[in-house]
Amino acid sequence: MTEAVIKLAELVSGRTSPAASPYVMSDEERHEIEHCLHHYDDNRAASIDALKIVQKKHGWVPDGAIAPIGEILGIPASDVEGVATFYNLIFRRPVGRNVIKICDSISCFLTGYDEVRNAISAQLRINLGQTTPDMRYTLLPICCLGACDKGPVLMINDDTHGNLSPETISVLLEQYK
């Protein structure tokens, strides 16, 4: 009997709860995480690095990745989940191919954040925290990006863009497929 059939049988008999979608950690991810362990005097410290490594591959951290990370680090899965849900740059839901992080802190607020955010929302038809149906963009708020002299500022993926205005938004967004 295959493993899948056994699992189904267990599920039907109520012996286990529905599991998270199966997740197989690649050797590449595992090696990358294990490499990070050398940087610290305690394995737990690599939990954020490990979550970022998984996220780099999948765009977000799928439920099934939490337990394997805990196993590599030797800490409970609940602790990994506690860390994953604390930090705003770790995504626990799928996000679009391009993640827009718009700074809504004071200097950008004073120089036109509202207008820029409205222009993005109008063009993409999404609000903060939402993803376009074609999974091309996710729009998120972020705190001060440390480029206040160039406000309003946002990041798309790893790129920081400053001196934005509602007029320049559509050309900028178009660069991210």
Binding site: Y40, I48, N88, L89, S105, S107, C148, M155
Partner: protein, 432 residues
């Protein structure tokens, strides 16, 4: 003749638009001289004493004397074993953009600073806790660290002295609270970034329970220059404008003509920063109020512009210098909206550990939203004033909520009429 390195030590190597200096270029302008001097000619305690004599005060915002902080680390004889130096590069204070510039434009200065400062506290390992969004800084720092390792400035038996220290860049995953030093230590240990109770202070029991020093990027970058040139030179950099030593990275953001960042003698007046370096307010705008150094500092008014921007002078005026980068609020802004934005930030960034902060900040934000919509209730201003006491210093686990109350309490003091205008009129008042 004085050189740029002698008058503007932090930014002497920074040329806008030019790639940062690599190791060879950095050495050619005198780089890593402080490492040689400290490790070969000085005892760790001598380095600490020099920094103490220079009266270098923490540039992360609190202004705590750096040499004193280092002096709290117990000696190796008393507490043998591991100890850590951590650079707080989690720059996230709204309105602050100085550490990014230092790390992206002159990464070897910070690496050299970490080596000299690590030597002073006999650190066995050092970390740069860098916020995750600083992608470019992570690249420049990792490249500089690789070069320093290859040159023998880091790693085992540095310069043949028998002292060993390695240096790592740890990139964060967001959350403003990571800038609080004990929350930063928890985050570095791979935990949720909740602050820890003090005492024990990190100098006694920090990272993994070992003696740990946490210093800001700009603070550390002063150290190699102090070691090279001495404490008297550093004290003189203020050009008599302050009793604090050194230069300071000052900046200006908001609707000013030339927003930016400048290295100036500490104690330079806010007026000089705004009117000379930033060129004044943009045409059509006038100055309504200003934050001296980040979202968690009290508002000051145009009449305070002549104050010297140093820790004690700004504190006497009822605010804090904080990070020293001005945020200017122009006359077209509603103070209620400005404070609503600030409280929105603090409410979102509360770590949720203690009740006054977790519950009080969203409540404060909600009150600000209703005032902004002109739907405030009678008594809301008194309630906000209560918040500034109940969420103030001593009532919460860390300085997050008290920081959130600083702009609120000063805005209530200076702009009370704008807040009152947010109270909804009673039906009989509306009819009248």
């Amino acid at each position: 003749m004085t050189t740029l390195a002698e008058t503007k030590p932090l930014t002497a190597n920074i040329v806008p638009g030019r790639a940062p200096l690599n190791l060879k270029e950095y050495e050619a302008v005198g780089g890593y001289r402080a490492v040689r001097k400290a490790l070969k000619e000085m005892q760790p305690g001598d380095v600490t004493k020099t920094v103490k004599d220079a009266n270098l005060r923490g540039r992360g915002g609190a202004g705590f004397p750096t040499g004193v902080k280092w002096g709290l680390v117990p000696s190796l004889e008393k507490v043998p074993g591991k100890r850590y130096l951590v650079c707080n590069a989690d720059e996230m204070e709204p309105g602050t953009f100085k550490d990014r510039a230092l790390m992206e434009s002159d990464p070897h200065l910070l690496v050299e600073a970490m080596i000299v400062s690590g030597y002073a506290i006999s650190a066995t390992r050092a970390y740069i806790f860098l916020r995750g969004e600083y992608i470019e800084a992570a690249k420049t720092l990792n490249a500089a660290i690789a070069e320093a390792n290859a040159a023998g400035y880091l790693g085992q038996n540095i310069l043949g002295t028998g002292w060993s220290m390695d240096l790592h860049v740890h990139t964060g995953a967001g959350r403003y609270i990571c800038g609080e030093e004990t929350a930063l230590i928890n985050s570095l240990e791979g935990r949720r970034a909740n602050p820890r109770a003090k005492p024990p202070f990190p100098a006694i029991a920090g990272l993994w329970g070992k003696p740990t020093v946490v210093n800001n990027v700009e603070t550390l970058c002063n150290v190699p220059h102090i070691v090279n040139n001495g404490s008297a030179w550093f004290l003189g950099l203020n050009q008599g404008k302050s009793k604090d030593g050194g230069t300071k990275l000052y900046g200006c953001s908001g609707r000013a003509k030339k927003t930016g960042l400048w290295e100036l003698p500490i104690g330079t007046s806010a007026r000089e920063i705004l009117e000379v370096h930033a060129g004044g307010m943009k045409d059509g705008y006038t100055l309504k109020a200003w934050l001296p150094g980040g979202a968690s500092t009290d508002f000051l008014m145009p009449e305070h512009l002549d104050l010297a921007m140093d820790f004690d002078t700004i504190a006497k005026a009822g605010s804090r210098m904080g990070t020293g980068l001005l945020t200017v609020v122009d006359n077209k802004q509603s103070m209620v909206s400005v404070v609503r934005n600030l409280e929105d930030f603090f409410a979102r960034e509360s770590c949720g550990w203690c009740t006054p902060c977790r519950d009080g900040l969203p409540w404060t934000h909600k009150l600000m939203l209703s005032l902004e919509a002109k739907q405030g209730q009678q008594g809301d201003l008194e309630l906000l004033e209560q918040m500034t006491r109940f969420l103030g210093p001593g009532k919460t686990f860390c300085a997050h909520a008290p920081g959130a109350m600083e702009p609120l309490q000063s805005a209530l003091k200076f702009f009370r009429a704008e807040f009152e205008a947010g109270i909804a009129k009673l039906p009989n008042q509306a009819a009248a």
